[in-house]
């Protein structure tokens, strides 16, 4: 069966943002169907569809809904449209071309979770999209899809569009809720989880735009269709973004589980590299998920298992929720691939990635606040031709000491900072070492003395910082050879 675009079916259709055009292609039929069901049946339906969240973590939406307390009076639905992961623009395309699909999804999810008020938390930079969505929402209100007694079902739902002010961390669900409440977007400590106590101290569901946009299609096309798309554990269609020096950068819809190579080289998607260059590296799921080696590296010998410590081409990674983990990636993420060509300097990539997280760390947890800024400084020095081999170990060590997974932070932002930086340094270590070997051997010392004289001139520190291998702290008893001679 040929794959049929559903999420992006209206892209390129004239007037696709209007309710009329949306209805012509079967719009709001899913919602009408949903409103005839019982809310709990809907939750079960979404559970059996195994609709996994499209925002990055891939948590099953139906399971998330079932965490809501049974005896709740008020429920809020927050729609996460704070799409800030570099280089992701799936939600933007969706809202640009088919805002009603999102609104229908909100209606269905709202009904399933017995939500009374839905908030669409929109990235502040989305000005055009805000107006598009607001117009669509006004239209939907006028047509009776929002407000009181929707479609005669007796169900009431209010919906508001709220604009953020431009912070990456506000895409984290509790950061989003704090920001929505008018506070500083600092993620909250969990528990309590939002499903129990979220926005305005009430049970809250936070779902991604694309997750909600899938709902109408599950209802109209049925589970059988849904299960026929994708790989066993990752069902359904997904919007993929590809950017970088490819021939056809953009947003494409495909079933989950296409390979990274296909996304770059298929004439349906990326259309190959510009000027016939080769791929050095690709971040397949937005920056935070980590990096894959490109096809400048040799192919893995046929039949051998995946070994991320070896310099092999990793473009065969399948873009679904599970396969990226085999390549030491954090997950599928936002499925937005950015391609680094062979002509790029890997040190520039490191600086670029490190800068983003140093700028966007919210500053609450120490490891993330200080670690990201420190790594950015190290990356800048490496790029300036004053790197040391110990810096690479140091970056790996810092990345291993931050994040939610080892329990060292409140939210997942530092995991997302650690993964690309660590995989970059580990997978491209030989290139970094080549650069360091080629630079003036005295450069690190000169630069360090200029920027931080204390590292060399203070008697207590004299030169020790330079020789400390990564992974160890300086402790006098462990390093008698470094003791000053009196």
């Amino acid at each position: 069966m040929a794959f049929e675009r559903v999420l992006m079916r209206n892209v390129g259709v004239s007037g696709s943002t209007s309710l009329e055009v949306y209805r012509r292609s079967g719009g709001y039929e899913g919602a009408a169907r949903a409103l005839r069901m019982k809310p709990d049946e809907l939750v079960e339906l979404v559970k059996s569809a195994n609709l996994r969240g499209r925002g990055g973590a891939g948590f099953p939406a139906g399971v998330k809904w079932s965490f809501l307390p049974k005896d709740r009076q008020v429920t809020y639905l927050c729609v996460n449209a704070d799409e800030s992961e570099p280089p992701t623009f799936c939600n933007r395309v969706l809202i640009d071309h088919d805002p009603h699909m999102l609104l229908e999804g909100i209606l269905i999810a709202g009904y399933a979770t017995r939500t009374t008020v839905a908030y669409i938390y929109m990235r502040g930079e989305f000005t055009e999209q805000f107006h598009t969505l607001q117009r669509a929402l006004d239209e939907a209100y006028a047509a009776g899809y929002f407000g009181k007694n929707i479609l005669g079902s007796g169900y009431d739902l209010e919906c508001y569009v709220h604009r953020g002010a431009g912070a990456y961390v506000c895409g984290e669900e509790t950061g989003l809720i704090e920001s929505l409440e008018g506070k500083r977007g600092w993620p909250r400590i969990k528990p309590p989880f939002p499903a129990v106590e979220g926005a305005f101290h009430q049970p809250t569901v936070v779902n991604n735009v694309e997750t909600l946009a899938c709902l109408p299609h599950i209802l109209t096309r049925g589970l059988e269709w849904w299960h026929s798309v994708g790989t066993p554990n990752s069902k359904g269609p997904k919007m993929f973004c590809i950017s970088g020096p490819v021939n056809r950068p953009g947003c494409y819809e495909a079933p989950l589980g296409i390979s990274c190579r296909e996304l770059i080289y298929s004439p349906d998607f990326g259309g190959g590299m510009r000027n016939g260059e080769k791929v050095k590296a690709v971040f397949p799921g937005g920056l935070s998920m980590g990096v894959l080696r490109g096809d400048v590296f040799p192919q893995r010998p046929a039949g051998s298992p995946i070994d991320v410590t070896q310099d092999y081409d990793e473009l065969d990674c399948l873009l679904d929720f599970d396969d990226p983990r085999n390549y030491d990636l954090l997950g599928l993420g936002t499925a937005a691939a950015v391609v680094v060509p062979e002509s790029a300097d890997i040190r520039d990539v490191l600086v670029n990635v490190a800068r983003f997280y140093a700028m966007e760390s919210c500053g609450q947890c120490t490891q993330c606040r200080e670690g990201t800024a420190w790594m950015y400084k190290i990356a800048q020095r490496i790029r300036a031709g004053a790197g040391r081999p110990v810096d690479l170990d140091l970056i790996v060590e810092v990345t291993k000491n931050m994040g939610m997974m080892p329990g060292l932070s409140i939210c997942g932002l530092p995991d997302g900072a650690a993964w690309p930086l660590r995989t970059l340094v580990q997978k491209f270590r030989r290139e970094f070492e080549r650069h360091i070997a080629a630079q003036d051997p005295d450069a690190p010392r000169r630069r360090i003395v200029r920027t931080n004289p204390a590292a060399y001139t203070l008697p207590v520190l004299q030169g020790r910082a330079e020789v400390m291998p990564g992974g160890t702290f300086y402790e006098p008893e462990n390093h008698p050879e470094l003791e000053l001679r009196a």
Binding site: C362, T366, R369, R381, G407, M468, F473
Partner: protein, 543 residues
């Protein structure tokens, strides 16, 4: 009482508290910055992380979980097993301590906090010996954030305690964090300085040298200071405080934890209200009335200096002569609410003993504005004296003729009293209004026991210098009837005797005045005076 196991040691703890609090109370030294028992938990410093046993997902057998868990955020639960003495926990502490010092200016030699700084202590105890950062440090600015407080942002660890304090306790919300990431700074809003009546507490709350008190700035190294337990005389609630002093001078006042009254906080009135102790113009010697006319503008001019040895006889003559006339109805004693219970007891017994018909008067009660209540229940009382309830309790027990302050003034102005023992002891002389001065001037044998020269001092037959509360010992009974003891922090000014000692000698008692002995005597008659409340001690490593 839940029982939990920390590092293999079983401890019993109060229900509902976080593991960190339980560990601190059991004497474990767990590093922490953002946690404070009086503030909301944010779990952001990530220094108090611990390992915890959790049921294995498959076998349900309790095993050490691979993740570290913030101990400040985990409530105690019966049977919980945690550990801090593991490699993972120690490694994390080392990393975090290294991070804190990455951009810290390491200017301890000029920092007021040095010596009581938890960045110093924890680095020494838990941190690595040297930093591995060779890059240029990020420099954050110094800021003047209010009339009493300076912010050295480069020393800040962004624990956000001060921000939470202004949000939750004072409810004024002046402080906030601006900017993101490691460019984050504490700041005030433009034109809205940190000036709420509780603002000084943010300096105590700051675990490092970021927030500093302008009043104490560069005055003393903290290791030279000695701390004495005291009770604030600033208002009738009687906040418990530490008086930090050195070489006979007070240098600052800090809150002393008290679960019944002020918890961890004090008002700025209590914090900065000690300056009068070292005022230049305090009375320094007893004196008698001179021959010439009194000059209210220069109260001490022409007065005859008196040796302390001559004072008891002189007082007995003044009061005794008046008592002999008309059965003692012409004698009065004014018990100031600035006196301790013990001093009031001595004075009341003395006067009643000499003149049973004497009128006893509770002294002037300074009232400023209205009671101020803050969101979490901290109260600043309008009554700016510490012991009105104590005086009232004693007078109620002693009985006999009594009058209010205003009645006393009225009758004194009519010449009803031949002699009076009037105690002042207020932080300034403003209680002696012209009306008060005129009334007291009508009393021939006026014995005034006060801190400062005033118009009344000019006309007093006998003027005795008083000592401030920091130079005395005793108990105050606060507005809720709670009796709390304060100790002597510094010796009285040269030439001055502590009030208790003076009254002790006037009563002809041998030896030295000891508040405890007098308290025992008073408590035999009025048991309430003996029920001294002692606040719970804070766990040794809490801050």
């Amino acid at each position: 009482m839940p029982k939990i196991i920390i590092d293999g040691r079983e401890i019993e703890c109060r229900p509902g508290i976080p593991v960190l609090q339980a560990a601190l109370e059991a004497g474990f030294d767990i590093p922490h910055y953002c946690y404070h028992p009086g503030l909301k938990i944010v779990a952001s410093c990530r220094l108090c992380l611990m390992e915890m046993k959790m049921p294995h997902p498959k076998t349900q057998e309790p095993v050490w979980a691979p993740k570290l868990v913030p101990s400040c955020q985990t409530p105690v639960k019966d049977g919980l097993e945690v550990r801090f003495n593991s490699d993972a926990v120690r490694q994390n502490q080392k990393h975090v301590m290294e991070y804190y010092l990455l951009n810290h200016p390491l200017d301890c030699p000029v920092c007021d906090k040095a010596g009581e700084c938890y960045l110093q202590d924890y680095t020494e105890q838990f941190g690595p010996a040297a930093s591995r950062m060779v890059e240029e440090k990020t420099k954050n600015p110094k800021k003047d954030i209010g009339p009493h407080t300076l912010l050295y942002q480069d020393r800040c660890v962004l624990c956000s305690r001060c921000v939470r304090f202004t949000e939750e306790i004072s409810g004024t919300g002046e402080l906030t964090v601006v900017n993101r990431g490691n460019r984050g700074e504490i700041d005030v809003f433009p034109g809205r300085p940190l000036d709420n009546p509780l603002q000084g507490n943010v300096v105590d709350l700051c675990p490092v040298g970021a927030l500093l008190d302008k009043d104490f700035l560069f005055k003393q190294r903290v290791w030279l200071l000695r701390s004495t337990k005291s009770v604030s005389p600033a208002d009738s609630r009687g906040a418990t405080i530490w008086i930090d002093h050195n070489d006979g001078r007070i240098h600052r006042i800090r809150p002393r934890f008290n679960e019944k009254v002020n918890e961890w906080w004090i008002s700025d009135e209590a914090r900065f209200g000690w300056k009068y102790v070292h005022a230049e113009n305090r009375l320094r010697a007893p004196s008698g009335r001179g021959r010439g006319p009194a000059d209210p503008a220069r109260p001490l001019a022409g007065r005859v200096p008196l040796a302390w040895e001559a004072v008891p006889a002189r007082v007995r003559v003044i009061l005794g002569e008046a008592a002999a006339r008309g059965g003692g109805a012409g004698v009065a004693a004014v018990l100031s609410p600035m006196m301790s219970c013990e001093e009031a007891w001595l004075l009341a017994s003395l006067v009643r003993g000499m003149a049973p018909a004497a009128t006893l008067v509770p002294g002037f009660v300074p009232v400023v504005g209205q009671d101020q209540t803050f969101p979490k229940g901290f109260v600043i009382k309008a009554e700016k004296c510490p012991n009105l309830r104590g005086i009232e309790t004693i007078l109620a027990h002693v009985g006999g003729p009594q009058a209010t302050w205003n009645e006393f003034l009225g009758r004194a102005a009519e010449g009803a009293f031949d002699a009076a023992y009037v105690v002042g002891g207020y932080p300034d002389a403003s209680w002696v209004t012209p009306a008060v001065a005129a009334a007291l001037a009508r009393i021939d044998g006026c014995i005034l026991h006060d801190l400062f020269p005033s118009a009344a001092a000019a006309t007093a037959e006998l003027l005795l210098p008083a000592a401030s509360w920091a130079e005395r010992e005793g108990t105050f009974m606060n507005c809720d009837g709670l009796v709390q003891a304060f100790e002597r922090a510094i010796p009285p000014l040269e030439g001055v005797k502590a009030d208790g000692q003076v009254l002790h000698e006037l009563g002809g008692r041998p030896g030295l005045f000891r508040a405890e002995a007098v308290r025992a005597e008073a408590a035999a008659a009025v048991p309430a005076l003996g029920a001294v409340f002692v606040p719970r001690d804070l766990p040794p490593h809490a801050h």
